[in-house]
């Protein structure tokens, strides 16, 4: 049986977070009542004309720079003609053979092109109405219609569902860092279609590809790709051919359904949009866009690894969750006495995330300064890790200053000396048989004695110190 290599390319639509629509001055809609964000232009009323949004072009240029694309000095809008109720003018204004950006790369995936276009409206199926007997009705809401979109098309450089998901995460984080979109897949501000084909491993020839749509979450993308790769593998193994078609992913069943093919082949009759003049990108516009480029995840990973010496996993975890990385850096800066970066990274990426989940740490009750001082106390052995976790619970639920909590709750580590010795003696006295076993050379038995001490001290004792004291007392 042949062993196949999947070849995957992605086509991503990103809604830009401008204040207004692509070609009119309506504010972007965010779940307002239907059709309350429209004007003569975005309703396609007779006689109206589009005027392109400067910030949308600016954001597209930022994306182009971030992805290392060639920016076209002059690009054109075209009309893509087809009839659909969510398309008020009967055509979508998009870019065709002269897009704003060409080429480029993100991580190990090459970018084919990046262009600007307008989003379609929302068509909601409302079922059968009595008004027209037996007819199926839908209702159009034009609030979303005309929202600026950037379409990013990759080269077919991905070779597994996991890799595709990982790369899309990198792209999403990059968009977040740029601040050009809120890229929420579930809400449709980030949409991803995929082209998939298989080829015998080691060959260069591309097989027949299918297009996957409607994968509105990272999980669905991965599942849909898996399902499609499996489907194609079975076809090829049984000597059948893959048919070029568009498949719709059904999350419920986890299966892919062919979209009902149109009666006539698509013929979009693209031609240059006569209502819009060409977009000329000036050096000033490029400088403006460049000046607003923040540090991007790929760069951040590098810095965390080489300047802060974080492990690859910690670096990726903090770089991919922008808000986590920012929080980490604020905590690191808050601390004066050279806090160990990896230790802090472990606390942020481990214990903190375990307590706040997906919520932005900046919105949690745990101030970065607080976490920094807590981790500092742990490193200074002023608090044991166990006690520190109890403190973090308190911080996460009520906030506050860790030092105060430690004091109030008497969670401070017991440095050796009298207090601890007393407890250890009590422990020895209370566990005669453990002492016996110990003397008999069964070292594990010390656990019972340490356990007693920890209970007594509410975990404030240092395990190592306790062991040392026990052995000293028993002259072992």
């Amino acid at each position: 049986m042949t062993d196949y290599e999947p070849v995957i390319g992605l086509e991503i639509h990103v809604q830009l977070a401008t204040a207004t629509k692509m070609f009119c001055s309506c504010a972007l809609g965010f779940g307002e009542p239907p059709n309350t964000r429209t004007c003569p232009v975005c309703l396609g009323l007779p006689g109206t004309l589009p005027v392109a949004n400067r910030r949308a072009v600016h954001y597209a240029l930022m994306i182009g720079l971030a992805l290392g694309c060639d920016l076209a000095p002059r690009s054109l809008f075209h009309r893509k003609n087809y009839f659909y109720p969510d398309l008020p003018k009967g055509y979508q204004i998009s870019q065709y053979d002269e897009p704003l950006c060409r080429g480029g790369r993100l991580g190990d995936v090459r970018i084919h092109r990046v262009h600007l276009e307008e989003d379609a409206a929302k068509l909601v199926h409302v079922g059968t109405s009595g008004r027209i007997h037996g007819s199926d009705q839908s209702v159009v809401d034009f609030n979303r219609g005309g929202t600026p979109l950037v379409e990013i098309v990759t080269e077919p450089d991905l070779h597994s569902p996991e890799q595709a998901r990982e790369w899309l995460t990198l792209l999403r984080t990059t968009m977040l860092q740029l601040g050009v979109s809120d890229v929420r897949m579930e809400e449709g501000s980030l949409r991803c279609d995929a082209n998939v084909s298989l080829r015998p491993a080691g060959t260069a020839q591309l097989g027949t590809k299918t297009e996957l749509k409607n994968m509105n979450s990272f999980g669905f993308l991965e599942r849909a790709l898996r399902a499609e790769i499996e489907r194609q593998r079975e076809l090829l193994d049984s000597g059948q051919a893959v048919v070029q078609e568009t498949l719709h992913f059904d999350p419920a069943s986890g299966t892919l359904m062919p979209l009902r093919s149109k009666e006539e082949a698509h013929d979009y009759r693209y031609f240059p949009e006569p209502d819009l003049v060409p977009v000329t990108v000036t050096d000033a516009m490029i400088e403006e866009a460049g000046a607003e480029l923040p540090e991007l995840p790929a760069e951040r990973i590098e810095r965390y690894r080489h300047e802060l010496g974080l492990t690859a996993d910690s670096a990726r975890q903090l770089a991919f969750r922008v808000e986590l990385g920012d929080y980490f850096e604020r905590a690191l800066a808050a601390d004066g006495q050279g806090l160990e970066a990896q230790a802090l990274a472990n606390w942020v990426g481990g214990e903190l995330v375990a307590r706040i989940g997906e919520t932005d740490p900046a919105e949690s009750k745990v101030a970065p300064e607080a976490l920094a001082s807590l981790v500092g106390m742990v490193s200074a052995r002023a608090v044991t890790p166990g006690a520190a976790k109890q403190v973090l619970d308190r911080l996460a639920s009520q906030g506050g200053d860790p030092a105060r909590i430690v004091e109030a709750e008497e969670l401070g580590a017991i440095a050796g000396g009298g207090e601890l010795e007393a407890v250890v003696e009590a422990a020895i006295a209370a566990n005669p048989e453990a002492v016996e076993s110990l003397r008999a050379g069964r070292d594990k038995a010390i656990g019972a004695i340490i356990g007693y001490v920890m209970r007594e001290t509410k975990g404030r004792a240092d395990g190592g110190e306790v062991t040392r004291l026990v052995r000293a007392k028993l002259e072992l």
Binding site: L45, G47, T48, L49, A265
Partner: protein, 501 residues
């Protein structure tokens, strides 16, 4: 007819300024005349002026007729199409808004060929407009309603739109002045689109001075129209009385050499050239080698853009819907089949075909290259000449129905007017005489933004020609004759037929 109605618009503005006349008197006189329209020139006439214009306003309260291709808030704006029957937009076109703001109250909306597609106004979904010089004949088109209204003295002045000759050709057939400005000089916002890269609004007036005054308040960059430009200079009222040192180029391709130019039209054209020489102009032959291909390029570019511009008429957000269709596709197809007339369908088909897979390069792509050659032809001509001059229309007004069954013959009416919009340059048409009681016209085209010079030359010629249009203003419908009512009646079976833009 009252002396008040004998005043040209600029004269009326002057009388208002001198307090010899009040905006209210003007409004009443013209409203009454427009309301008793027997030419089917108007599709809607206002009851009241929207705003009492100040006597001091630059346009002095002289009422304006606007082609029904312009959207006007709360007022029927139907583009001559049944698919927009009764449609009242929620906004007003920039060009109309500017003229109203300058003190010209909206008198009414005038009848066009459906979506401006025609050369006779017989393609209106609301019946043909009659030519006041001879009610058996067409007023030209597509701004036929505006041309007829001004010629008949139903409106002091009017605006129209020109895509392939739709201002100049009806102006010619009705014996009035029509100016198509430089592409981009006047905002297209609110003008129901026919062919976006060609459409341009302009004045139709009794004389050249009126045209200049109206144009002065139409031009200017509009932030709502990306393709509009700030006019580089002020539009001045023309004063020139001679043509000293003016070089006129006569392109044989559009004059003597042109097919289908009637002898009478040719003679009047030659006579005007002699007059021009008498005023000091140098007249020489020039070449526009690609002008003969203008019509073919135009009949690919305009329908292609139209096929896309008219896709929005789909029965969803406004206008006609043929209901009872269970399938979305049937709703679309039946709505558009019922709402559009024959000529509009013909052009949508032609344009869709020209853009469709496999034909783009041979048709639309090629037409855009011809367009480049035509631009170059004019650039070369203007290197040697101030203006290129031609007859505006190869023929005088033709009889109603004469060309409705022969689209190509109808399209040839635009032979001399199509090259200018393809090059985006301005051109004016002024009446230069009569043939058997029907007006002929003289066209002057110049480089982009040469409107002031064109108006000056036209002003000098106009006085030398001394054309008298009063006959059309005094004409009445023959008692038994072809009145507007009958026109509307007869039109019903004919309104789906023939012609250009």
């Amino acid at each position: 007819m009252s002396g008040l109605l004998a005043l040209a618009a600029a004269e009326a503005v002057e009388s208002v300024r001198k307090r010899e006349l009040s905006p209210a008197e003007l409004w009443e006189a013209y409203r009454e005349r427009a309301a008793s329209d027997d030419l089917n020139a108007f599709t809607w006439v206002a009851e009241e002026p929207q705003l009492e214009p100040a006597a001091t306003a630059p346009l002095g309260g002289v009422p304006l007729a606007a082609k029904d291709l312009f959207c006007t808030e709360g007022v029927p704006s139907q583009a001559g199409s049944r698919i927009l029957e009764g449609y009242r937009p929620p906004y007003t076109a920039t060009a109309v808004g500017r003229l109203m703001a300058a003190g010209a109250p909206l008198l009414g909306k005038t009848n066009p060929d459906e979506f401006a597609m025609g050369s006779s106004t017989e393609n209106s979904g609301f019946g043909p407009t009659l030519n006041p010089w001879d009610r058996h004949r067409v007023p030209g088109g597509s701004s036929g309603g505006s041309a007829a209204a001004v010629a008949a003295g139903q409106a002091p002045w009017a605006i129209g739109t020109d895509t392939g000759g739709s201002i100049r050709q009806p102006a010619a057939l009705c014996g009035v002045v029509g100016l198509k400005p430089t592409y981009g000089a006047v905002s297209r916002f609110g003008m129901i689109a026919f062919a976006s890269s060609l459409d341009q609004a302009g004045p139709l007036t009794r004389n050249v001075t009126d045209a200049a005054l109206l144009l002065a308040h139409m031009v200017g960059r509009d932030p709502r129209d990306s393709t509009s430009l700030a006019f580089p200079t002020e539009i001045e009222l023309p004063r020139a009385e001679d043509l000293q040192g003016v070089r006129l180029g006569v392109p044989e391709e559009l004059a003597a050499g042109a097919e289908g130019i009637e002898p009478g039209v040719h003679d009047n054209f030659e006579a005007t050239l002699r007059l021009a020489e008498g005023l000091g102009a140098e007249v020489e032959e020039c070449r526009l080698p690609h002008a003969p291909y203008g019509l073919a390029a135009y009949y690919l570019i305009a329908p292609a853009e139209a096929s896309s511009n008219l896709a929005r008429f789909d029965g969803v957000r406004y206008g006609l819907r043929v209901d009872g269709a269970l399938e979305l596709r049937d709703m679309y197809m039946r709505t558009r089949a019922k709402g559009f007339g024959a000529e509009v369908k013909r052009r949508i088909m032609l344009g869709t075909y020209a853009l469709s897979a496999g034909y783009y390069d041979a048709y639309y792509g090629r037409a855009q290259r011809v367009r480049t050659k035509i631009v170059e032809d004019f650039r070369d001509a203007f290197a040697r000449f101030d203006f290129v001059v031609t007859p505006t229309s190869p023929t005088v007004a033709f009889e109603l129905g004469a060309r409705v069954d022969d689209p190509l013959a109808m399209y040839l009416s635009d032979y001399c007017t199509v090259p200018m919009p393809l090059a985006g340059i301005p051109a004016i048409s002024i009446p230069n005489g009569l043939v058997d009681g029907l007006p002929t016209s003289f066209q002057i085209a110049g480089p982009a933004f040469s409107e002031n010079r064109i108006l000056a030359a036209a002003h000098a010629l106009e006085h030398a020609i001394g054309f008298d249009g009063s006959a059309a203003r005094e004409s009445e419908a023959e008692p038994s004759g072809h009145g507007g009512q009958e026109a509307r009646g007869r039109s019903q079976e004919r309104r789906r037929e023939g012609g250009s833009g």
